[in-house]
Subunit: 192 residues, 2 copies
């Protein structure tokens, strides 16, 4: 149940078995059905979760009611709205399962306690937040400076495992184009 998380953490810091036991204690396992919401826009986000199995989309609804996907998260990713989580303000984001999923979930108060009890956890989340920030910075640069064709290819290249599990509509909501456009690119690529 916690093997994937253990490996994920080992990429960033070294915890011995006892330390990992203390770290994992406040987490609880939750199953999330396809289409179920972990967070809805307007709610305050009190959790952070590690995806053990499945896939989620983290998105914002614009004024026209169009879904703008900020990121997808499959196995080995963490999900939260860090803005709402830190400031305890209503979230601008919704988090919805795209598949039947399993997550390991920690509440804000428990996470704060972990920081106090285990200073190593500071390092862990410092490094992980840096990585998340790098991913978002790359997405920002792509969004500002690349065509939809280029961004589609970039997405396939960076996240091949996630891309293959998504529909054209879902990828379109990430690229900010119509799903007809994604179908067209996919067709063009399959012929080239």
């Amino acid at each position: 149940m916690t093997d994937l998380l253990k490996k994920n953490i080992a990429l960033n810091i070294a915890l011995n078995d006892d330390e990992f036991k203390r770290f994992i204690k406040p987490f609880r396992v939750a199953t999330v059905q396809k289409k179920e919401y972990l967070l809805r826009e307007g709610e305050v986000c009190n959790f952070e979760a590690f995806v053990n199995k499945g896939c989620f989309k983290v998105y914002h609804l614009d004024d026209k009611g169009v879904e703008q996907v900020v990121y997808f998260a499959a196995e080995n990713w963490w999900i939260t709205d860090i803005d709402s989580f830190i400031h305890q303000t209503p979230s601008q984001l919704s988090i919805q399962a795209l598949e039947n999923s399993e997550i390991l979930l920690i509440q804000k108060a428990d996470k704060e306690k972990l920081y106090e009890d285990m200073p190593k956890v500071e390092k862990l989340f410092r490094i992980m937040t840096q990585k998340t920030h790098v991913a978002l910075q790359r997405r920002m640069i792509d969004t500002l400076s690349k065509t939809a064709d280029q961004r589609y290819l970039e997405f396939l290249h960076r996240y091949p495992e996630i891309a293959s599990r998504l529909t054209n509509i879902q990828i379109a909501a990430y690229l900010g184009v119509s799903h007809e456009f994604v179908s067209k690119i996919r067709k063009k690529l399959s012929h080239s």
Copy 2:
């Protein structure tokens, strides 16, 4: 010289005078002339810097040679390309002074040493990276889901001190529109 940085840090963690002295030791002061580059696209970013005075733009040149500003940084902001800094790969970003500026600069190796010598510094940069991430997430959501008019107003609202120091061309490079468009919005707002 280091008063502003001291106050900036105090927002995130408590350091006593001795600890602050140890923290500040590896930093060096540098003056940067208007238009001078701290980092050019393609170089590896080995530093992180705190802006003591002045203003910088952090931008990416797209395939057409158009500047896409990822963020502006004035007093109290930190500048680096975190992607290049962490992975030691060529930067996708350039960092240029928009005014005569003064920064406090720390090299990568010295920062790593600080993490080892002062565990509190882990907490400091964990919290600061979270804040930077929140700012970028807000920018991403705005870019995906708002009109240029709305994004202009949002920018004025969030960063009034910075906005008032920028030209229409600079703001246009942040919003991803022409500077004529920014002039038009500014005129429209001054008449409303």
